[in-house]
Symmetry: C2
Subunit: 248 residues, 2 copies
């Protein structure tokens, strides 16, 4: 897998309340290969034993977490700071989608700049002064009639998006458990020939003036899926079986 981003973003939790949520954030991060967790003034101090169980094995992220007294200190080395909020704050700020913020993070990382993704306390979200410190607001577009995402869910959506773009060059669909390579056309012709030979005497290509059309339908039907050699062999076996006498 290509690592397009030498400087992955850091996740900054401002005054997080519950250790359980810090653990769930660590778990979400590590699923998508992020490890740089920064805590600003966590309510219950740090380390917090409540974080371990919900991290579900992402202990390395918790162990590496750094604590800062202020948001400004936490993001001092970052060139772009996104404040995650669910709504605008009556201030003039760019509001980016996760899609846009992730592509900016990758772009800046390619030039050596780190991005911070900042999340507020569970109950109230970021305070206006925290948002003012950010370069832009990051908002997950949700149902205007029902926007209710908790901290770890917001983190997982945003880090998923970052990771999606990291791996965007990879195939979006692969065939598991078999060759991804379609069968040769010779093998496909063999299948279609066998099928036609089996159908012909059974009156399938009737009436005669429709034969050509029916054969074309058949050919398209078996060409389109891109069956691999094994699948073609299986299909030929099926045809053979179907055309064999019922009682042996």
């Amino acid at each position: 897998m290509t690592d397009r981003s030498p400087l992955p973003p850091c996740i900054v939790l401002v005054r997080p309340q519950l250790g359980e949520n810090i653990g769930a954030v660590a778990r979400a991060m590590l699923n998508f290969r992020l490890t740089d967790l920064r805590l600003v003034d966590p309510r219950d101090g740090w380390p917090n034993p409540a974080a371990g169980p919900t991290a579900a094995g992402a202990d390395a992220v918790l162990d590496g977490a750094r604590v800062f007294g202020t948001l400004a200190d936490a993001v001092a080395d970052c060139v772009r700071v996104y404040a995650t909020t669910v709504r605008g704050r009556g201030m003039t700020k760019l509001v980016a989608t996760p899609d846009h913020a992730a592509s900016e993070a990758h772009r800046l990382a390619a030039s050596g700049g780190r991005t911070a993704l900042v999340f507020g306390p569970e109950r109230a979200g970021l305070e206006t002064d925290d948002v003012a410190l950010a370069d832009a607001i990051l908002t997950i577009p949700v149902n205007p009639d029902f926007g209710s995402i908790n901290l770890a869910q917001a983190v997982i959506v945003i880090v998923y998006e970052w990771h999606r773009q990291l791996t965007a060059g990879l195939p979006r669909q692969v065939l598991h458990g078999g060759s991804d390579l379609p069968a040769s056309h010779a093998a496909l012709e063999g299948l279609i020939g066998q099928l036609e030979d089996a159908l012909e005497p059974r009156g399938y290509f009737f009436p005669a003036h429709r034969t050509r059309t029916l054969k074309r339908v058949l050919r398209n039907l078996f060409s389109r899926p891109g069956f691999n050699e094994q699948e073609v062999r299986t299909l030929r076996g099926i045809i053979s079986t179907l055309t064999s006498p019922r009682d042996r």
Copy 2:
């Protein structure tokens, strides 16, 4: 917002164990405008009072949930069934990313076909027979060294992806709290002119052979952000203030 998808996908939970997780799934769905929840043989029956609190207000999704005896019944009206798994199952199946599955769901919906997104029980995931019934496998690409996503997190990532594509035509970045429209060039020229007039007598454009370069730097600096009229007025006010005598 354009509704590109007249037939949004349904979410199918096969033998879900904890009501809390069913509620969390309903909440994740409604955030991204999905409401069609189907339960196959839920362990603790249905309705399940444990689901309410974690739904966090997504009660309409729970109230509308339908229960089926088998997965085949649950997806009978669907033209494409994705089985969500964390790994291949030793069978020949296409394995799609959320990105691909979502685009397929939108494409099929445009032709009137519904897609089912199927999730297995929390502990063990889908059984092989459930997966065999699906048209393809849906796998969230995660860190190969740490893949640990719970049920509601898997659902939220996948439905976020569907919603991201639904709203893909919308702007990815907007300016809140002010006009998105950059100021006219006349206004910008006024600002730059004022600034130059203020800097000139203060020796900023020195030495003389660098004047042109320095002015170009200045022009680029104030053109690039695309300030709106209000921002230009604010900047002009700042310049005026800075150049006014210290004591009035």
